[in-house]
């Protein structure tokens, strides 16, 4: 009976994964797809650009900018960089193309209603808009729609933010804004702290200044940079634009290559390490490696099979896959650390993925230490599940968990960012992992498992031997033992993390404790675990109460992370 039930959990998980894979649907390919496919923008993607006080690769820059316009969607399946250039060079092709992303179902509904009032023939297109969120600037500009937008802009409480994003997208789509953003020309050696120059500042430089002067179209080159090189850059740029308009991919590729090779030579000292740029472009082009969730999901399936069927090979295979996934995630974290030049824990994407990685570290250490014990495989299962969920969130919610690398706010430049934040997110991951084993325990009990609990927990679990192999009456004990093991660790870390946050707040905001919602709910999570410890001490059915309260604690922790962060924002809103 219990085995059958656990099997059902296993199946449900597999179905869930399959369903998640379906979320992305293919977009219909546009007519000019062959041009897009034969254009090779890789050399340009690895070019340096200055944006928001950072030097980044043009590839990751375009992805970030297109994120502001099209949200999580790729236009016609094109790369972000291609769409950026296409918008810039052929704006007319996008005037009535559905490229602007609108967030939120009710806002989409109101816009769609307004469009359909004006033009009922657009039923099909509006249906597509409501599912993808993409709409064209031309439709938004219609009188009836503009009136609805204005109305929604006035509602500062509910819709103004979404409308601001739409306005921002429309501004960003303007040719001059796109052109201004292309700050790929490094400043002169004398003023390296200055802003980089936009390509627009050199693109009109004539090859023959004499003729330009005669025709009155003279443009001054940037002082301090080699004029000849600037003229050549201008020529390559113009050649690329002309070829692009002609739809001549080979010429575009040749000019793009030449431009990408030429621009860094304007001021080689200012241009950053090309290897780092290449890897940055690669990292973003590969979706921040958030696809690693699939590997974690595979390890979770195998380890679940091991629990349900007590199948040692599945456990071994699961642990191996888990190790591979953890290794990949470690590589992704180190890569991000290297390209952003700081430890990744200062925005929502980084907090979620790094938190999961900390859980992975704990799992690796505990699995090695407990390899001969009955709990072997379970910590990895919990961690694998946590990491799969975290990376899946990053993968499927790129708007909420924006992976772009930006500069940290001044207040985050403090050693306590590394101490407090890491300890807190580590404890949060452990709380989530404890809830996974608690959830399995509850499933075990719901399917008729015995009313048992582990008599030992914490460090004692490490040293208690002889629980090798699963016996069904011990499954509950082992699961409860894992919950307690993780709970105790998170209990200490959470308390210490809150105290460390208070130390930081004391010298940063002037008060160790300010009853900020995020602080209060961290304390609330701790209160739940304090209740858990005392209930376990008094209750008769210790296993059940422990599991229930571990799940409640995780729910409060997630509430703090999701609802407090996105709905009830407070001082801690840096994400």
């Amino acid at each position: 009976m219990i085995r059958r039930g656990m099997r059902a959990i296993c199946c449900a998980f597999v179905v869930l994964l399959g369903g998640a894979g379906e979320i992305r649907t293919a977009e219909s390919a546009p007519a000019g797809a062959s041009f897009e496919q034969s254009v090779d923008l890789q050399p340009l993607a690895e070019l340096a650009v200055q944006s928001g006080g950072r030097i980044k690769s043009l590839g990751s820059f375009a992805q970030g900018e297109m994120g502001f316009i099209s949200g999580p969607r790729l236009i016609h399946g094109q790369s972000s960089l291609f769409t950026y250039f296409d918008l810039l060079i052929r704006p007319e092709a996008y005037a009535d193309a559905d490229v602007i992303y609108v967030k939120g179902g009710s806002v989409r509904q109101r816009i769609a209603d307004a469009v359909l009032r004006e033009d009922p023939s657009l039923q099909e297109r509006m249906r597509a808009f409501q599912s993808s969120g993409l709409i064209s600037g031309a439709l938004l500009g219609r009188d009836g729609v503009a009136a609805v937008i204005e109305q929604m802009q006035g509602d500062l409480l509910r819709t103004a933010k979404v409308m601001d994003a739409v306005r921002g997208a429309q501004m960003l789509m303007q040719t001059d804004a796109l052109l201004r953003g292309l700050r790929i020309v490094p400043p002169a050696p004398a003023d390296e702290r200055q802003r980089w120059h936009s390509i627009s500042e050199v693109m009109l430089l004539a090859a023959d200044p004499g003729a330009a002067k005669a025709s009155g179209k003279e443009v001054a080159p940037i002082a301090g940079l080699d004029v000849g090189l600037q003229q050549q850059c201008a020529q390559h740029w113009r050649a690329m634009v002309e070829a692009w308009i002609d739809g001549d991919a080979p010429r575009v590729n040749a000019s793009a290559r030449a431009l990408a090779a030429m621009v860094p030579t304007l001021n080689p000292a200012a241009s950053p390490d090309p290897t780092r740029l290449r890897w940055e472009a690669w990292y973003f082009a590969n979706g921040n490696l958030s696809w690693i969730w699939l590997v974690y999901a595979l390890s979770v399936i195998l380890l679940l099979l091991a629990v349900v069927y007590r199948w040692p090979r599945a456990k071994s295979a699961g642990l191996v896959v888990f190790a591979v996934a953890f290794l990949l995630q470690t590589v992704a974290l180190l890569l991000r650390w290297w390209i952003s030049a700081r430890f990744p824990n200062s925005n929502m994407f980084e907090a979620v993925t790094t938190s999961a990685w900390f859980g992975g570290c704990a799992a690796v250490i505990l699995e090695v230490a407990l390899r001969k014990r009955a709990v072997a495989g379970l910590v990895a299962l919990a961690s694998g599940f946590a990491s799969a969920v975290a990376l899946m969130s990053a993968h499927f919610l790129p708007v909420q968990l924006n992976a772009q690398i930006g500069n940290m706010m001044p207040v985050l430049h403090d050693v306590w960012l590394y101490i407090h934040t890491n300890v807190i997110i580590f404890s949060y991951c452990l709380i989530f992992m404890a809830a996974v084993s608690a959830g399995l325990y509850l499933a075990y009990r719901a399917l008729g498992g015995k009313r048992v609990h582990a008599s030992v927990g914490g460090v004692a679990t490490l040293s208690s031997e002889g629980m090798g192999g699963f016996r069904s009456e011990r499954t509950g004990e082992v699961l409860d033992g894992v919950t307690m093991l993780l709970m105790k660790l998170s209990f200490v870390l959470l308390w210490a993390g809150i105290a460390m946050g208070a130390i930081w707040a004391d010298h940063s905001w002037g008060r160790p404790w300010g009853w900020d919602p995020k602080e209060v709910f961290a304390l609330n999570t701790f209160v739940v675990f304090a209740v858990l410890v005392h209930v376990r001490y008094r209750a008769l059915d210790k296993g059940l109460w422990t599991a229930l309260l571990a799940v409640v604690g995780a729910a409060v922790m997630l509430f703090n992370w999701i609802v407090i962060n996105f709905v009830i924002t407070g001082l801690h809103s840096y994400a």
Partner: protein, 792 residues
Amino acid sequence: MSAVRWIVDLFSSVRFGITLLVLLFVYMSIGSAGVVYPIHPNLFHPDAWVHDQLRQWRPFEMTEFEWFHWWPFNLLIGLIAANMIVTTLRRIPLRLVNLGVWMIHTGIIVLIVGSVHYFHAKVEGDAPVARRKIVLEVDGTDGSVELLAAQGARAVIGEGAEQYAVEVVDIDPAWMLRTEGSDGEPAYSVTVSVQTAARRFMRQLIAGRPDLTEDLLPGSGPAQPMQRALKATGTAIVDAALRMRLDYEAQGWFYLRNDLAKAWALYVRPAGTSEWTMRPLDGLPLYNDRVSSTADVLVADPASASLRPMLLPVPPVDGDPFPDVTIAVDGYLRYAQLRSLLVPGGANAPFNPTVTLDIKGDQGAESTYRLMALDAERSTADDGLLRMAAVSSEAEFEQLLRPAEIRVRVPAAGVDVVQRVRVPKDDAAAEAFVPVGDPLLGYGYRVRAAQDDLPVGGRSASVLIMDVKTPSGVIRRWVFSDAALTRDVPAGEGGHAAPVQPDPAVEVEYMPGGGRALLTVVAGPDERQLRLIAAFGDAVGKAQSIEVGGSVRLPAGLTVELSSYEPRARVVEGPVPIPFEQRIRDAREMFSMAHIIVPGAAPLWLRFSPYAFDDARFALRRHPFHPQRIRLADGREMDILFSRQRLPLGTDVALEDFVLATHSGGYTGESGTIRDYTSLLRFRDAPDQPWSDPTQVSVNAPVEHRGLWFFQAQWDPPEPVSARDPRGSAGLNYTVLGVGNREGVWTQLAGCVIAVAGMTYAFYVKPLLIRRRTERAKEAARKRLALSGVLP
């Protein structure tokens, strides 16, 4: 069982402790996240559920801080502490295995003690500190006049012909010095324009370098609008009678944070003085409106206004300048704007023509203007480019159509001519003299420049600068539209000699005509008649009729639409509460106002001002300052202000410098380009003491001075030039410091550390001890059994 025993048993019950913890969880959740409740029977409807902050509701009216200092919370914490102490003492024997739980409970008790101390003593607020003030002194005038070194700040000093009207026209926080020894070093520079009856010049002041003060004179042409006086005249200061210097603008107060615990206050002072006296205003809400009478607010439908009367007395305090006046507050609006409604005054109301105009650009930009012809302040807009006038006759209307003219009279020659003013575009000196009367007589003039609607000593005047030729020579004359101001400025030396009364041989009168307005709306002579004069690119305006609802296209892609006209308008002013969904979320109390009743004076709404600045000349950019002047029944005048309570810093703070550190590429307006904010502060514990050496305060790096900690809190960002703000601002002109105390934090920290140690012990040492003890017991048992022969 006795009651005492029952209570002691209760407090040593773990169940009771668990109950208290659950209550604590619920209390904290409600106070912090609020409540969610349905407002619709269909619970699955997306709009059926509402989220609200319970603590902000009328019966509570509490900030987070107040909710967590309310007696139920204190009681809960007290009960938990008592429960922990009693249980620990009664039920947990102090043994090695129990050391962990003892430490945890002790740590939490220590933390609670530390927190009671900390929160009991807590004060927290903010103190704005401006960078510099300007001190003005004039020979022959007693005392000095001070004004803030802030773009647009104005002051007048001196009297009569010796009156100086000064205005700060430019502040450059990073002016590059070009003097020997400090070439290329950035310095804080303030440029002030000085207008006297006779001339206008600029003076540049450099912080910390009074030796570099110098004047700038109008230059020779558009290529060089200003030139250094040193170059033009050989002397750096052209008017030594006016002395100016920069000084620190000391701040001695900090203002309590109103969103921490409500700390409203009224400030009063006799009109004309600068010291405010604070009267704490207790009991005023923060989140919910209180209105005592429908007449107090402007709402479309007075019947819909829900009345919630209130009457809070604000009595005089010790040393109050109005010891006999108790002010009362009977209304509060959380978020409202003062607006004026124009209502038709009826047939018997006085003639008061008022229009509402919309001016649209072809880029979609649109501005709405309301002009009142007979109101000096509201008859013009946009620096005088838009204007409304009322005429009582066609002749007056004709006058408005006329271009600028001068009337020149030479009594000796019997000449009296009126001529149109032609202002030369380029080099005025090259223009020939316009003869007056018979050229042989030798009288003539030439116009050098015209400047209309100049602010002179608080008034507005138009001036024509011209050369007047008489048989005895050429006189430089400044002809004002107000003839009393007209002066001759003896020629030569760049006009440095003192101006003199005009030579009576030639009388010149300046009639600016339609003035500098590009658009003039004219009402009258018939009260229903409305005409528009447009003078784009032309000295002579073109008139056309305009009606309500009608529009007129103008050059430069502009369209004027007349949306309303009321010939006998009456203005009703009052606050309009802004609908909740239109409120800016982080506006806090910035748009709140209180309804004040001062005995013997008309009640009024006072808008919130975050700081009690000395006067408008010391108000900081982006920090509204709305004092009001009230005349009491006995004739005394009172200035009154609605703000927050303040406390003395116990020291003076000055801002030496403010530094913005940026990432690669400098500050671009995006917050992501900022790396750090740093204020360089100086302290002075008494006015007669010297200022301390500069101390650096930046983010995450506060400084302590006399028990208070100073934090970097806000800054003055640069603002680009815009239609609203044609001057823009280079920013970095002030800092706002967070100020607070932190008593008891070490006790709190000790409590946390003890608890962490206890948890580690309880979770990771205690199981080992127990295991070792069990093994030892097993071993002993085995030995015993072996001895007794049961086991081999």
